[in-house]
């Protein structure tokens, strides 16, 4: 029974994530003065990709790459509370577990992309991992004050400790929240940090050799990734929400991200890393100082 519930839950979140992707395309189209595709377009895309008859693979790891990527993100989802909704595993989603599970996906994809012996893919992965040196640390430092303030490392407890509207993490720690928003942009790989994908430069990077069902799995990975990444931010900074408001919250955060994405050019990789070590790092440090002063 509970296993069935697992799968339904996963399916639901995946579909919602795909719809978010559709919305992103629609919004971008509107900004560019176009109609854009229907918002269920990504679902059709995924269906189509899974329907492809013959695809190529470059070896075992190349095939398993997307599988591992989806595994990683789906396990993260199960350890992440969606607002008030407790994580399915009765585990009280610990921050570090989530942070470490979050890198399983990129790692799986990195291994898969690496085996294709296409230098575009490897260059992209080298860029993606280097970018982590920028945003991961900012994200971590930005969320630390909240966890420190409520004296727990459990995401669930942090949600519960925040309380209703004026007691949200975002309002108590505005500086950290801002830093976390900066980090989120890189975490989701949207412009100006779209360095790893860069379709016009390195031919969509890690995906360069993936087609058919592999690309389909990667799309699913991306879809769940959107919910997990924005959801992490909503959980930590927007207090206890029921599941409806949780999704509205993630949507708002995601909306901000795609608005920035729509109007931004792309950084070079070293510019991006350096950018993160500038103002966002300063903000993150200020946020930590704030919580020290409060104590």
């Amino acid at each position: 029974m509970s296993i069935l519930y697992f799968f339904l839950y996963l399916l639901l979140v995946t579909v919602i994530g795909l719809l978010y992707m559709g919305v992103a395309r629609k919004v971008t189209a509107h900004i560019q003065n176009r109609y854009g595709p229907p918002i269920y377009q990504p679902i059709l895309d995924v269906l189509k990709l899974f329907g492809k008859r013959h695809t190529v693979t470059h070896g075992v790891m190349h095939s398993l790459g997307p599988v591992i990527a989806y595994t990683g993100i789906a396990s993260t989802l199960l350890f992440l509370p969606l607002g008030n909704h407790t994580p399915l595993l009765h585990f009280k989603g610990d921050l570090f577990v989530v942070l470490y599970l979050l890198v399983v996906g990129p790692l799986g994809m990195a291994l898969g992309a690496g085996e294709s012996s296409n230098p575009n893919a490897t260059i992209a992965m080298a860029r993606a991992l280097s970018l982590m040196l920028g945003y991961e640390i900012i994200f971590f430092m930005a969320t630390l004050p909240v966890f420190y303030h409520y004296h727990t490392a459990s995401i669930y407890k942090v949600i519960q400790a925040q309380g209703v509207f004026p007691h949200w993490g975002a309002i108590i720690f505005p500086i950290s929240f801002l830093a976390a928003l900066f980090a989120l942009q890189g975490m989701m790989g949207e412009k100006p940090f779209e360095i790893a994908i860069a379709p016009h430069e390195i031919a969509s990077g890690p995906m360069v050799e993936y087609g058919g069902k592999y690309l389909g799995l990667l799309q699913l990975w991306h879809a769940v990734g959107i919910i997990v990444e924005t959801g992490l931010l909503v959980d930590i900074f927007f207090g206890p929400q029921n599941i409806i408001w949780f999704f509205i919250g993630t949507f708002i955060v995601f909306y901000v991200v795609i608005l920035v994405n729509a109007v931004m050019p792309r950084f070079r990789i070293e510019q991006a890393v350096r950018f993160y070590w500038g103002i966002p790092l300063l903000l993150a440090i200020l946020g930590i100082l704030q919580v020290y002063i409060w104590r």
């Binding site: 350890f79 009280k92 577990v97 296409n118 982590m132």
Partner: protein, 603 residues
């Protein structure tokens, strides 16, 4: 007596191996029997609490040996790794002396674990350093002489600091036994502590003392590096424990700032070594820096100095022994087949050496600390311990270091196993039995302890509980700190379950066929089979730009500058003694002139 017998077994085996040197088979069998016998003897005969005192009353000095639970913990790591090293090393071309040296270095390391007084501690420590130096000297690189020299110089530096500390201690306490000296007055105990810590900082290659490590790790024979990095560096961790807890039980009260500095040194080591690691192009150099980086976490654990941070440090020491040895072993196996360590010259070996690939894959997963492997519990504990100590900057620094681990891990696995297969490697086979055996054996604790950390946390907790207030609740599979709670197998089970699910999704849809190596998207251009498509050189080259100048700074340069100053001064000093007659004449005149000047008035 059991301990002496063990040391005797190890020593005798070493001698026998030397004598039987030319007869390869016999030598191998003898050393194998010795190592296995030693391990079994250790596991079954040696118990904590066994002690033996040798009363040679020179100047009222007692010598003593004894076993603690900690010694057993480290002893098993050492002997286990030694066995793995030994089996793999039979594939290499070694002489009898090599085996004798390695057995003696093991003997020294075990002796350190048994020692209860500082003099025998020093003696065994030096034995270990000396023989591992001799082995580095026999290494295969062209620069091995230089590296070995560096290694022995740094070891000597540490050893003399230790000796000085011992003398100071004896001077003040009139005892060479490893006993508490917190009660001493004045600043002298601080000096003793720092002097006693120095050799261990050298041994674990903490940052200002790390310069020997990349060279020694790179230039020693590949299989011995497994033992050198995984095993012998643990002696340094053991030493931290001795110095911080046995010699100095109240350091947290007396010198909290010292611990803080220690923790920050550890964190900076972990971060900087991580950065250096992903800029290396030599597989073993990369691993050497990664080893330094990982041992930085151990120092952080000791520096934070709470119950479960020390548990984390010891657990991480064990984890390091497992995954770092695994990585070194795989690289050794790859070297055995390809005869190169240069990451730019390898690639695509996954199809030829699948077992090695699996070994390296899980090795890097553990190095990065991803659950459910052995790397995760210790890192998790460490983070929570640091947050509990209210140091958010330290925890950020440690987190930064753990991100660098992803970078160098990926570089390693990609450059060796993924990407394009080179033409000259087309007929390569899987690494031979000795390497494969070690890989399989090391994979077991990697997963078992990753999902059931309680197995090891229990004895570690039993050791640490004695010194620090326990605040970690655990059982076989769960751990609860005041901050959070983790159920380790749950992570593993979830991942397995979801992996199955995604794998089923993968299986039911569409067929796929295997593409040839050249069948890549190259902007639809045709490429030659030998065309260098592998992205191996200048991996992360752009990070050089991102870091800019600071990356070019290094301790080595500072030391070289010091060297220049010293040799300049030396040149001047030499002038005093070895100048020609005119110089002496000049000195004499100068001497008289000064005398005349000083006495001026009175003359």
């Amino acid at each position: 007596m059991a301990m002496f017998l063990l040391l005797l077994i190890i020593g005798l085996t070493g001698l026998l191996a030397f004598i039987l040197g030319p007869i390869k088979v016999l030598r191998n069998i003898i050393s194998l029997i010795g190592a296995i016998g030693g391990l079994l003897y250790f596991v079954f005969k040696i118990r904590p609490g066994q002690a033996y005192a040798l009363n040679i009353k020179i100047y009222n000095v007692h010598f003593g040996t004894g076993m603690s639970a900690l010694s057993i913990f480290f002893g098993i790591i050492l002997l286990g790794l030694f066995l793995i090293f030994l089996i793999a090393s039979f594939h290499e071309d070694n002489d009898g002396a090599y085996y004798m040296f390695s057995f003696f270095s093991l003997l020294g390391a075990l002796g350190v674990l048994f020692a209860k007084d500082l003099i025998s501690f020093f003696f065994f420590f030096e034995t270990m350093s000396l023989f591992s130096f001799l082995i580095v000297l026999k290494g295969n690189g062209e620069t091995s002489h230089r590296s070995a020299f560096k290694y022995v110089m740094w070891s000597a530096f540490g050893a003399y600091a230790f000796l000085l500390g011992t003398f100071l201690k004896v001077n003040y306490t009139h005892s060479v036994m490893i006993t508490d000296i917190s009660y001493l007055g004045g600043n002298i105990k601080l000096w003793i502590l720092i002097l006693l810590l120095t050799p261990f900082m050298v041994k674990t290659a903490l940052m200002p003392f790390h310069l020997w490590a990349p060279g020694a790790y790179t230039d020693s024979k590949d299989t011995y590096t497994v033992f050198l990095s995984g095993g012998l560096s643990k002696i340094g961790v053991f030493g931290y424990f001795i110095a911080l807890f046995n010699v100095f039980s109240q350091i947290a009260v007396l010198y909290p700032w010292l611990l803080k500095v220690f923790a920050y040194i550890g964190a900076i080591t972990a971060s900087l070594a991580g950065i250096y690691a992903f800029m290396q192009d030599d597989a073993k150099k990369l691993l050497a820096y990664s080893s330094i980086s990982q041992l930085g976490y151990v120092a952080v654990g000791f520096g934070v100095y709470s119950h479960f941070s020390v548990v984390a440090a010891l657990f991480h020491a064990l984890g390091h022994a497992v995954f770092e040895s695994l990585l070194f072993l795989v690289v050794a196996g790859v070297y055995y087949r390809t005869k190169t360590h240069d990451l730019r010259k390898m690639g695509g070996l996954i199809k030829k050496m699948p077992l090695s690939f699996i070994g390296l894959l899980f090795g890097i997963i553990a190095t990065s600390g991803i659950p459910p492997t052995i790397g995760f519990p210790s890192k998790w504990l460490l983070y929570e311990a640091i947050i509990l100590k209210n140091d958010l900057f330290l925890v950020s620094l440690v987190f930064f270091a753990s991100i660098t681990a992803f970078l160098y891990s990926y570089k390693l696995i990609h450059s060796i196993f993924l990407g394009k297969l080179h033409k000259e490697h087309e007929h390569i086979k899987e690494a031979p039995f000795g390497y494969g055996f070690g890989i399989v054996v090391l994979l077991i604790p990697l997963f078992v302890l990753g999902t059931n950390p309680g197995i090891v946390v229990k004895p570690i907790d039993y050791i640490v509980r004695f010194y620090l207030k326990p605040d970690l609740a655990y059982n076989l599979t769960n751990m609860t700190t005041p901050l959070g709670h983790v159920n380790f197998p749950a992570i593993g089970i979830t991942m397995t379950l979801l992996f199955t699910l995604s794998f089923i999704i993968y299986l039911i849809f569409g067929k796929s066929y295997r593409a040839a190596q050249e069948d890549n998207y190259t902007a639809t251009e045709w490429i030659d089979k030998d065309f260098g498509l592998h992205y191996g050189g200048e991996f992360y080259g752009f990070m050089r730009k991102a870091f800019g100048k600071p990356l070019t700074w290094s301790f080595e340069k500072i030391l070289n500058a010091c060297l220049k100053v010293v040799s300049f001064l030396g040149e001047i000093a030499r002038g005093f003694y070895m100048g020609d007659a005119r110089v002496y004449l000049f000195y004499i005149i100068l001497f008289f002139a000064i005398i005349v000047y000083i006495m001026g008035g009175k003359l």
